[in-house]
């Protein structure tokens, strides 16, 4: 009986190893990963960080560092945060594969998994934990409270509401980072400039995401000032989105996207439906504009990640304590527009916006 059990466990382990060997190389870097995996990863990382080191010719920082990156979900913006974070570290001379070992785990939106990811990092004595998105940051804070491991978070919309910082932006513990709070007023101002006659803005959000609810409240509070009315529809999962979109499109002049994970994942479908009705969709960050939103006064998550990476570098090299650094936000909203989308909709993006654009796209990436 016991022998059989062991045999069976061995078989599973071997099957799984074989499986990962074929399908691997797609993301995870681990200290104990097979050499070929590490090599491939290092190449990729070097590619990303090459530009940074070329321009700045930064010298490598002293010391060897190991960090754990725990990400809450697989998601374009969050992936960009992670990429930017590593670039930010590299700019400060902490380069993956050179003097930095990165452990990366993704919780796939499973809260229970988040806890185990953090305790796995702790058991490997990481020098710093990078937590991406609110639940991950809270888990990391709870788990590291009595350990001497600093936590740097990013993509936490409201660190104060999440109880990770006090009103004056100071950390509640050995934890700090960056917020991805959306520039709501700037976005409304932009929509007004592009659509002078619009009256109603539709917003889809998922009821399970606290960031979306907080942002939605801000939109509702700020909308009257710009002469808009917000019509919102909450969804409880991706399956609700097609019907909710159809319903919402009947009532509004344009749609506006938040950084809602569920809704953003279904964005191509929403864009398709809106295009058929000739209703413009505004995005909340650069990736959304790339795939077909008309425009956005939003965040660049790579930049946000870089800023976070700089903070992490300060903490790693001992220049600052995480507990003494206030959390940061991106002060300047940047304009992103897509001229191909504008053409399809028969809209001309105003000159004053396009002239100061951070980036303009002339095609729709699928």
């Amino acid at each position: 009986m016991m022998k059989k059990t062991i045999a069976a466990l061995m078989i599973t382990a071997m099957t799984a190893t074989a499986m990962t060997a074929c399908g691997g190389n797609s993301g995870q870097t681990s200290t104990s990963a097979a050499p070929e995996t590490t090599a491939a990863e290092t190449d990729a990382a070097a590619g990303d960080t090459q530009a940074a080191s070329d321009s700045g010719a930064t010298a490598l920082a002293d010391g060897e560092y190991t960090i754990g990156i725990g990400q809450f979900a697989v998601h374009g913006s969050l992936d960009n945060c992670r990429e930017g974070f590593l670039q930010g570290l590299a700019e400060a001379g902490i380069v993956e594969g050179e003097n930095l070992t990165v452990l990366y785990e993704n919780a796939n939106t499973d809260g229970g998994m988040g806890t185990q990811i953090i305790s796995n990092f702790m058991s490997k004595d990481v020098d710093l934990i990078c937590a991406i998105a609110t639940p991950m940051a809270q888990t990391a804070y709870g788990a590291t409270k009595r350990a001497d491991v600093p936590v740097i978070y990013t993509a936490v919309t409201d660190p104060v509401l999440a109880m990770l910082a006090t009103e004056d932006r100071m950390p509640v513990g050995n934890i700090t980072g960056t917020s991805d709070k959306l520039p709501v007023e700037e976005q409304l101002q932009m929509i007004r400039e592009i659509l002078p006659d619009a009256k109603t803005i539709g917003i889809l959000y998922s009821t399970s995401e606290v960031n979306s609810q907080a942002t939605l409240e801000e939109y509702k509070a700020a909308a009257p000032e710009f002469g808009f009315e917000i019509v919102e529809t909450g969804v409880s999962g991706a399956a609700d989105i097609p019907l909710a979109t159809d319903n919402l499109l009947e009532k509004v002049d344009c749609l506006n996207n938040l950084t809602d994970n569920t809704v953003v994942s279904s964005l191509p479908m929403i864009l398709d439906k809106a295009n058929k009705k000739g209703i413009p969709v505004f995005g909340s960050e650069v990736e959304q504009v790339k795939i077909g939103c008309l425009a956005s006064m939003g965040l660049d998550y790579i930049e946000l990640g870089k800023q976070t990476g700089h903070m992490a570098a300060q903490v790693l090299t001992g220049q600052a304590q995480a507990s003494e650094l206030p959390f940061e936000i991106i002060e300047q909203a940047s304009f992103y527009g897509n001229t191909a989308v504008a053409e399809n909709l028969g809209i001309t993006l105003p000159e004053e916006l396009t002239s100061s654009a951070a980036e303009m796209f002339d095609s729709i990436t699928n």
Partner: protein, 293 residues
């Protein structure tokens, strides 16, 4: 060291959930999916209560009661409205999702800094002592043992015997002039009460409520019950409830080991769980066949 503590903490807290699942799945033979929402319900209730200044032990009790109510609803839907067991659970699971959001006022509610069963005036000396790292494990262990002993005692009462009879042979319950429906409802109420209690303890350890925590609770519960009951089937000196608790710790240990070895990306974790699940089931079926021949 910290990884072992992590496994023990998680394993013990989820053991309370596993004991609940054990009542429905093993004793009542009722696949109760409402668990996926009663677990976060316990967490939501706890977060809301703690922020309102309710003492943490009271939050445990109230969470349990809320779970009991949810279990009664599942039971009533199944027994009185004659809905299939699986569907009754799914209906309650779906409905509770919205109720949980309403209780917590959103998808995420943090209460860092509030007194919890782990961090309060009484545990402060323990936390600051050299054994401070063990605080969560010790307190979780005490809670789990209390739950286990109470459950063992309950299963020996008249009501407990009826519960076990209802799963094995419900004609017997009827022949004893008892309503098997009522017995099922009691079982579901107790089970979901325990699950919500587990959610409450879990959330007090975490310091925040998050709606997504419930995803997959039923799988964790079932895996723990099956690992525990199948692996220790021959070990007659162990009570089944103890086996379930060990099963829960073993389950968490498997996950932690797979993660620490680093063979698996976390996205394969569900697959690994499924494979493990299947293997244990197959092995136990094989040994059953041999025993019969």
């Amino acid at each position: 060291m910290s990884i072992i503590l992590g496994i023990l903490e998680e394993g013990l807290i989820y053991a309370i959930l596993a004991l609940g699942v054990y009542i429905t799945y093993s004793i009542l033979d009722f696949p109760d999916l409402s668990v996926d929402s009663t677990f976060p319900m316990g967490a939501a209730v706890t977060a809301a209560l703690l922020l309102a200044g309710v003492p943490s032990p009271a939050a445990l009790g109230i969470s349990f009661v809320c779970g009991v109510l949810a279990g009664i609803v599942t039971g009533l839907i199944h027994v009185k409205l004659k809905v299939v067991d699986l569907l009754s659970g799914i209906i309650v699971m779906t409905g509770l999702y919205s109720i949980n959001l309403a209780i917590a006022g959103g998808a995420n509610l943090a209460f860092f800094g509030q007194d919890t069963i782990f961090e309060n005036g009484l545990t402060a000396p323990l936390l600051s002592s050299p054994a401070g790292d063990f605080t969560v494990t010790i307190i979780s262990f005490v809670v789990v043992m209390a739950v286990k002993l109470l459950l063992d005692a309950y299963l020996k009462t008249r009501s407990g015997y009826l519960l076990r009879a209802a799963g094995d042979n419900d004609t017997l319950v009827t022949s004893l002039a008892k309503d098997k429906g009522t017995v099922k409802i009691i079982g579901l109420a107790l089970a979901n009460g325990l699950v919500a209690l587990s959610g409450s303890v879990y959330c007090q350890k975490q310091g925040f409520f998050e709606i997504s925590t419930g995803t997959g609770s039923i799988v964790i519960g079932l895996a723990s019950v099956i690992i525990g009951t199948k692996l220790f089937k021959r070990a007659s000196f162990l009570k089944t409830t103890t086996a379930v608790i060990i099963g829960s710790i073993l389950y968490k240990a498997c996950i932690a080991a797979a993660m620490a070895i680093g063979i698996f990306k976390t996205s394969y974790m569900k697959f690994v769980t499924a494979a493990l699940f299947l293997i244990i089931l197959v092995i136990s079926n094989q040994s059953k066949k041999k025993g019969a021949a």
